[in-house]
Structures are given as C-alpha cells and as structure tokens.
C-alpha cells in the first residue's frame, strides 16, 4: 500500500475496509487466501479479536500476515482478555512490526463465547484503551513510566447508530472522540434514512465514519439479527426482498442489497466510507464491491 490508512482517511475519498476472521487452529490457509483476495481491493483489513468471545488465532497474527502480503491491517483489540500490562505490551509489539492501525473495543462478554468458564478481564474499557494509546504516544505508559521508544497509532472505535436506547451510546461515542478516536466503524446499518440522521449528528465531530455493512445471506439471517443482535435492525422491505429471491439465490440478492447500500452511501456522500463484514463469506466481498461500483 502506497498510502497509510491515516492518509487514506484524510484523503477525502470514499474509504473501504473489510475484515478477516482468523481460524480456530493452526491451519491458516483460508485466512491467507482471504487476505490475498482482498488486500488490494480495500484500503485496510480488520482482523477480529476472538470474535464473539470464541477462542481463535490472534488478531495480531492475522495483521502480521496482512503486512507480510503487503496489505494494510487494522488490529482489533478488545479489553476482554488482557489486563493493562498485556494490552500495552501488544501495542508496543504491533508498532515495532509496522502495524499502526488499532480498533479499540470493549469486547463481547465471555459467556457468549466458547470458553464460558473463563474470567473476563475488562481491566480497561474501550474509552480507556484509546486514552492509553494516546498516553503511550506521549512516551509514557499507564504507570507514568518512561517508554524507551514511543508508539504512534491511527486509532479507531465502534459506534452503534441504531442502538436502543441511543442516547447513552452517543455519550460513549463522544467520550471515544475525546479519547482520541480518529475513525469509527459502525455496527451494521440497514436503514439509510435513519443512518443519515445519525450522520447529521456525527458530522459535527472531527472523525471519519465508516458505515458497517453486514452481508445478509437469507431472510432467516435478517430476522435472526433483528431478534438477537443488539443495535441491528433490518427493515421489513429488505427481509421481503430477500424472501422474494428465487431458491438458491438469496446470497446473490444479499450481495445486490449490500452493493446498492454502499453505492447510495457513496453517491449521496452520507458518510466517509464503509466497513464490509461478510462473516464467513469473505469470498464474495469482491462481488459486493463490484455491485457497489467500487471495483472493476
């Protein structure tokens, strides 16, 4: 990548990120394939950090693989599994290996994952992790000790524009901005009118907002998300559209919907970019970008 992610963010062009889910095990072939497939088609690739509290190959390992293949990575860091010592140590390591984009998250609860008996750490929260990064950039660690060599990161965070209730989340969003977040990748959005209203609010802050686009692969998935995923609301007309797809073509319809949403967000300059999450269907991310008119 000729440009760093921070440079891309400030370039004013429509930013596209996607994400890689590391494997459960040492067989990293599929992950490497996905990296190879996507690294030149997007501006940066997130690597999830034990997504949904399911133990996997680490985010930092995926980021190194992206780096080795010449791509730009975004290190997802949750506060669930490491205390402040471990988080800072990993930031030091990441920086020395040229991984300079971090997405700060609180992390899902341990009990939603596959190691339910584990101890959730949460020594820091996402806001405190952002402050930690900025403090380490000043040459001091969280214990106020001098660092022999500081770090520098392009730091981001997440926000849920359709959370209910929304107001407490907006307070947190503003605390993340004050904590030094430069960009936000949002939870999945499907109602563009509602999202545009959120953007009227978010535009007041000096941050870049990338709308979260989760690929819908069936009407069933859409209904499941509505019932179970906090802050995700798939409108009925999209569910109907997915249902109307001929048998075996729901995925194609989902790709079309995602592409159409991205194209609209770009055309109407609603936000600064998109973060495309295909959750296990990384193979079709290029098709989504094509449907959005973003790839050749």
């Amino acid at each position: 990548m000729a440009q760093s992610f921070r440079e891309v963010l400030s370039s004013g062009r429509f930013v596209v990120t996607s994400e890689i889910g590391p494997p459960k095990g040492t067989n990293i072939e599929k992950m490497l394939h996905h990296i190879d497939l996507l690294k030149d088609k997007v501006d940066a690739l997130n690597v999830t950090d034990h997504q949904s509290s399911v133990m996997r190959f680490p985010s930092i390992g995926g980021c190194l693989a992206i780096k080795e293949q010449g791509g730009e990575s975004i290190l997802q860091m949750t506060c669930r599994d490491r205390n402040r010592l471990a988080l800072q140590a990993e930031l030091l390591f990441a920086y020395t290996r040229g991984i300079t984009n971090v997405l700060c998250l609180t992390g899902d609860a341990v009990v939603v994952g596959d190691h339910k008996a584990a101890k959730g750490v949460f020594d820091l929260d996402s806001v405190q992790l952002l402050h930690t990064i900025r403090q380490m950039e000043s040459g001091k660690d969280l214990g106020e000790n001098d660092l022999d060599g500081a770090v520098q990161f392009c730091a981001g965070a997440i926000v849920t524009p359709e959370a209910n209730p929304l107001e407490p989340q907006l307070v947190k969003f503003e605390k993340k901005v004050e904590g030094g977040a430069e960009f936000f990748q949002t939870q999945a959005i499907y109602d563009l009118e509602k999202f545009a209203k959120f953007m009227e609010y978010a535009h007041k802050f000096p941050v870049k907002i990338l709308a979260g686009i989760i690929l819908l692969v069936s009407a069933r998935m859409a209904k499941y998300m509505n019932e179970n995923v906090p802050g995700v609301f798939v409108p009925q007309d999209l569910i109907d559209e997915l249902s109307s797809a001929p048998k075996g073509e729901a995925l194609k319809k989902g790709i079309e919907i995602a592409g159409r949403m991205i194209a609209t967000l770009k055309k109407e300059s609603i936000c600064d970019g998109v973060h495309v999450m295909a959750i296990g269907r990384e193979e079709v991310v290029p098709d989504i970008l094509k449907a959005a008119g973003l790839a050749t």
Binding site: A109, V111, L124, T132, N164
Partner: protein, 214 residues
C-alpha cells in the same frame, strides 16, 4: 444487607466429607436462615441426608449470628458433641466458616457457596448491589454501581451489547448503564456521565485487605 449463599451440590459435600464419618452440623440464624440455606429446617434436612449416607451426626446447632464473636460461646457450650465429631459442616456463609475455624481444632467444612452481598428485591429474589471494591463510585452513578450491576464492570458508559435496556448476557437483566443514564437524566446530572473515568486503581487496598480503625 445479607450474605447470599447457595448449597453446594450434594456430591461435592459428599466428597468433602470423604473419610469423615462423624459430623457436627452448624447453621446460622441470620442470613442463611433468610436465604433458606442454613436455618433450622435446612440443618435438619442435611442431618437426615447425612444419616442416609451412613454418617453419624453427633449434634447440631443454629448459631444466632454465626459470623460474630458470640459464636465462641455457642461453640464452648456444645464442645462435647463437637469433640465427638471428626469435623464440623457449616451451613452458613464463608465468614462463618472462618469464624468457626478460629475456635474449632477440627476440619471446618463449608456446605454452602457464598455468592454475594445482596438485597432481597422480592421474597426469595436476591440481587447483588455492592462488590465491596473499596472505591465507591455511587456518587457519580446515581446510586447504581456499574462495577457490580454491569456485567463487564465498565466505568465509561454502556457497551454495544445492550439491547432495549437489557444486558447482552441475560435478557432478564437490566443494563446498568441504561439505568444510570435514565436516573442521571432525571436528576439533570448527565454531565457526570460525560466525564472520563480513568482506569481503576485496583491497588487501593492490596489483597488480602485489612484495615485498623483507630
């Protein structure tokens, strides 16, 4: 405020009593009676269960407040039956297990797990409200403790897992930060929520915690 307890699985009690065939039973007339885990009725039920298992119960007592110093007197009064036993099985909170251990020169074994310090919202429903962390934040959080009532113990507001005012780990549990937001809004004190809370000092009193009150 009550010490909320739950009886251990009987198989675990059986394992803990392995090789200890003569048992003296001690319950508590305060918290464990209210939670129905170590009152007279439960102690008698345990006595029967142990007898079925072939154990000899040398005696039993429900100490009025098993965690306080008067327990020493109760123990002395029942010294004969206690001496006749191999161990004392305590149907009270862990504080009481500690208290009894200081007076009895025999294995003192808990029959209960001590869960939390809680309040009884409605008969039989107990809720943890204080984690006794040593750094009270209730003055900034409208009297709701986020360290206790938020699953993740977050300090700077809700996580993204909250849905319709409920917690991501249990749809029956309220999201502490939604409640805090609502109460602070009612009080016109939302500025408290906007203030950045730095990482906690977990070293406020190093474990094991002690304090000498002058």
């Amino acid at each position: 405020m009550k010490s909320i307890t739950k009886q251990k699985p009987f198989e675990e009690i059986e394992q803990l009593l392995d090789g200890l065939d003569r048992v003296y039973l001690a319950g508590c007339g305060t918290c464990a009676t209210m939670t129905r885990t170590g009152g007279r009725e439960e102690v008698l039920a345990m006595k029967e269960r142990l007898q079925q298992l072939g154990k000899l119960v040398t005696g039993w007592i429900v100490i009025p407040v098993a965690c306080d110093e008067m327990t020493e007197v109760a123990i002395k009064e029942n010294n004969g039956a206690i001496q006749d036993a191999n161990c004392v099985l305590v149907m009270a909170c862990a504080l009481s297990v500690h208290r009894l251990s200081t007076y009895i020169d025999k294995p003192v074994i808990p029959a209960l797990d001590t869960l939390f310090i809680g309040v009884e919202d409605e008969p039989g429903f107990f809720r943890e409200v204080c984690a006794q962390c040593g750094q009270c934040v209730l003055g900034q959080t409208a009297g709701i403790c986020p360290l206790t009532a938020c699953h993740k113990g977050l300090l700077n507001g809700p996580c993204g897992g909250t849905k319709d005012g409920k917690c991501e780990v249990d749809k029956e549990k309220d999201c502490a930060w939604t409640l805090i937001y609502q109460r602070l809004e009612e009080q016109g004190r939302l500025d408290l929520l906007r203030k950045y809370q730095p990482p906690r000092d977990y070293n406020v009193t190093p474990k094991p915690r002690t304090i000498r009150i002058a």
